[in-house]
Subunit: 153 residues, 3 copies
């Protein structure tokens, strides 16, 4: 069994941002020199996620707005009464008592999940026709890391 | 290390549907001829998911209704005010500007996650007593694929 | 390829509880004697999950309150109108018709996801600085199991 490990570092301009990383994962698989196996793509932070979906800007804008409604950031005005009601009582995260302001990003990490596994078949990522891999940043503007681990033969 | 890859194709009658695939995964593991390892079960589409849960029709009906509330389809009347408020402003997905109508299915893919890994121990799926594997279709009535990748020895 | 399988059993005092298991996973990796590979950490029940996040009590209390709003337990008064509206019509889960009362726990399993994979690099869990592994119980006070499967070389 061969193993190959690559770390990516992000420092996004915006606080929330989707970054396409399919090509980075492809490069890691090629460098690993395997034909059959899998590759784990896993955020190393607790305020980020990894999502496999379409590279369509409308979907990403929809997803960010919707995630803000389900897991509202208390550092901005809640997006309507539903978002307000989903905040913890009394309207701010306990996590913020220590000076943090990223409570929502931890919940978005929960919703999106922080990792995916992509199968490798005949040396290629075995993805469907519209599947692209995205790093999902929910508390950016600072250095964050992600690990790509290829395993196979 | 042995690797064995199987593709399943679905064409569900209903737009949203859960399809039990535990037995298909068991067959793939048996055909792989491994005794220790794991099997990745991963939807190859961006409007579907894979869920491990109980094969109890009430749970599945509950989950589909609830997913419609959290990620409302804009092609039907929203399921109450909460579902309406969770739609993006002004009440339709940006993704639909190009003629699509499955914006909700992308968000359901996010919530359910598109894959699971099942451990294989002594040649068998190492699942708990009530764990069954389901393909979760959120935009069906057309051909969709799923990959099963077994790895081990 | 080496494989090593460990089962953990939980019997939490509270119905909902997060239990840190990073050290149990580390022990399993050490006992497996691998330097490169991965470890699957997977709940064997359909009313539990596994989450990698910060070991900060505020985050955990926030997450439990918020999960109760998104997937309300019908055995207690809904946490406001939003939580009430997210219950299925007419206000109780179909799953409860058979005498169960844990419909919400199945939906929390869906949201949190029941498993994670941790990469193993140079014999250690390759986690980010704040990443800890938690078993997430949503219907406790009884014996529940989790499987840790280490694979690598």
């Amino acid at each position: 069994m061969k193993a190959h490990t690559v770390y990516l570092t992000f420092n996004t301009e915006r606080r929330r941002e989707f970054v396409r990383i399919t090509e980075d994962v492809e490069t890691a698989v090629r460098d690993a020199g395997i034909s059959e196996g899998m590759v784990l793509v896993s955020a190393m932070h607790i305020t980020a996620g990894v999502w496999v979906n379409d590279d369509e800007p409308g979907i990403q804008a929809d997803a960010l707005e919707w995630l803000d409604k389900l897991a509202p950031p208390s550092w901005q005005e809640p997006n309507g009464e539903v978002a307000r009601a989903l905040l913890p009582d009394p309207a701010d995260y306990r996590h913020h008592r220590g000076g943090e302001d990223n409570g929502d990003a931890h919940l978005k990490n929960l919703l999106v999940h922080h990792q995916v596994i992509v199968p490798v078949t005949e040396g290629e990522l075995d993805l469907g026709p519209w599947q692209q891999i995205f790093y999902c940043e929910f508390d950016g503007r600072r250095r964050k890391r992600l690990v790509i681990k290829v395993m196979g033969e």
